[in-house]
Symmetry: C2
Subunit: 353 residues, 2 copies
């Protein structure tokens, strides 16, 4: 496990276990388990789109986004996942000073390193349950700040107005707000920074998480600042999004996601309820579809390995800067999977009734 | 039409014509029209793979390539089309001296410019029917050389041994040999530089052209030099290839492509035969699935526009450096499409019997 290993590597672990990838209950990647079955019918009818090249710079998706949100196409850039956008943001800021609010998603650091940004971290503290008070921080020394909101892996959500306040105060700094997990919150639309008229905010959004189709590889960014959007797009592949993904993505934009979010929240609450009396672990509160768990008497590798031998894959957090081998992260999946997970976890950590 | 506009933009032109994209006969992108219908059945059964993230760095495809060709995985890098590989090759050679054998595919220049390489061109001459004699050239001043072989858009093929000879002579120069159109040649395997044990050759291969599924976005590079492969991969997205594309790509590797190639060659020969007596145009001989055509009395825009009004899209070559508005490029498609194209083209250029 190197320092930039992600979750979701079921291909590797299925080989290790000698089983099929689909036999593994993957709680390591934060992807919704609830996929509308209509989508698969739709996809079947769109397969022939693979005969053609995708549209240039995913213009089909940019148009669909602009129409849906009544904005201009030039405010959007579409990438092969938010990864392509994060990567190119770092590339165009090569040599500059970056601040990463940590512990967080490892790709900000990965790409800052690759393109030689000067990296600084502000660590949320476990003592404060990983809460972040942005108003305490001085951003004047930084060119670009990465904030995952709600944050992966802590689940902490920073209020929209708090971010707007610092963006106004530090207008020479570009704030990259990664809202990949935003749609899992209740009343999420009102809590989002999408479409704010701020020249120094870029909002990232992912199609991978809420729609349950991480394999599509679609992410996008919105900024009121068209120049920065154009700069990012210059470095994006003209045909980075597969032509089938493109038409599926357009279709997904017509789907309401509130029901998916509330179903996942119910199951998350059940998880909290089931583990609340277990003193050997601590669950941090989470605004989204995964939960960070502190282990008191075992290390993450032991728990990871024991769960894996039961074909359950979780995210061992020991390679996440600002955490250590006493943390694991668990994504919320369907109720049956969570029940099975709970039964095994309770045995491992010693919390059986 | 800016200087880096590609062919294949049926989405744009269908809007212009007010028709569906699939009503347009697309002779502007060099993609085989022959797709095995079994592939679509296979894809239908693999749709659920979209629920999961792709494998890291497309390891599924790298393994399949290594197995098929009995090589090591570490000699391959897989990208979202050869574009991702060309882009990253330029990125890691930023500031260095590049030579582009022209006229050719515009992405070499596009990415050399984007990443500030010092660009030089060697132009094949129309007088010599765009033939290239590499032995006449001095590569000692260059760090990286781009050779598309067979070349797009001229169709000229440079013998494998000619390239090996210069690679040996100029060992400080990296030769990037783009073999995207190689599989369309007869006995193509024997003519390829794939798997040559040369430290300064990188061979690019595309899944888009021969298999007729350009929308998949898969390309790969092979080099005996593992260090350069590792350097390129560092800048590739970990999940650049869609998870459905990945399984489809693996399946495609099991398909023999000789029959596709010979079907296309037959139709190409029919095109040459039908136009051989037409003195208002000249067809250059082509080793692959497209033909460069010189217009003597009309300019490319006139011919382009008239064909388009008949829902035929061709490649106007006026934005290709080293050509001008007397050239068009036409891809070989199924016989019916080519018959229809011939009937319209003959009227336009005045070659009716």
């Amino acid at each position: 496990m190197d320092s930039f290993t992600h979750g979701g590597n079921i291909y590797y672990y299925s080989k290790l276990l000698g089983c099929n990838a689909n036999e593994i209950i993957d709680l390591s990647s934060n992807i919704s388990p609830f996929v509308d079955e209509n989508i698969f019918e739709f996809i079947k009818n769109q397969i022939s789109s693979l005969k053609n090249l995708p549209s240039s710079n995913a213009i089909i998706l940019k148009e669909a986004l602009a129409n849906k949100y009544d904005k201009e196409m030039e405010n959007f850039v579409v990438g092969a996942g938010t990864s392509e956008i994060i990567k190119n943001l770092c590339l165009i800021n090569s040599g500059k000073k970056a601040l990463i609010i940590a512990p967080t998603y490892i790709d900000y650091e990965r790409y800052c390193k690759l393109y030689n940004l000067q990296i600084n971290f502000h660590f949320a503290s476990e003592k404060r349950n990983f809460a972040i008070n942005l108003q305490e921080l001085d951003f004047s020394k930084f060119d670009i700040v990465f904030i995952c909101n709600p944050n992966n892996p802590t689940g902490y959500y920073i209020e929209k107005d708090d971010i707007l306040r610092i963006a106004k105060r530090f207008e020479n700094c570009m704030f990259v707000i990664d809202e990949s997990y935003h749609p899992f919150m209740s009343n999420s639309d009102n809590k989002s920074l999408l479409f704010e008229k701020s020249k120094n905010i870029i909002v990232l959004r992912s199609f991978s998480k809420i729609y349950g189709l991480a394999g599509l590889r679609i992410g996008y960014a919105f900024s009121f600042n068209k120049e920065i959007i154009r700069e990012i797009e210059k470095h994006c592949l003209e045909w980075g999004v597969n032509s089938l993904s493109e038409v599926v993505g357009k279709y997904l934009l017509s789907i309401k996601t509130d029901k998916i979010a509330s179903k996942i929240n119910e199951i998350k609450n059940y998880l909290y309820e089931e583990l609340k009396d277990c003193n050997n672990i601590k669950l941090f509160s989470s605004a989204t579809n995964f939960v960070l768990i502190k282990l008191y008497h075992l290390n993450s590798e032991e728990v990871f390995t024991k769960l894996l031998s039961n074909k359950i894959l979780i995210r061992d957090c020991k390679n996440i800067r600002g955490l250590d081998d006493s943390f694991i992260r668990v994504a919320i999946k369907d109720l049956d999977s969570m029940r099975y997970f709970l039964s095994i976890l309770k045995k491992i950590v010693g919390c059986e009734n």
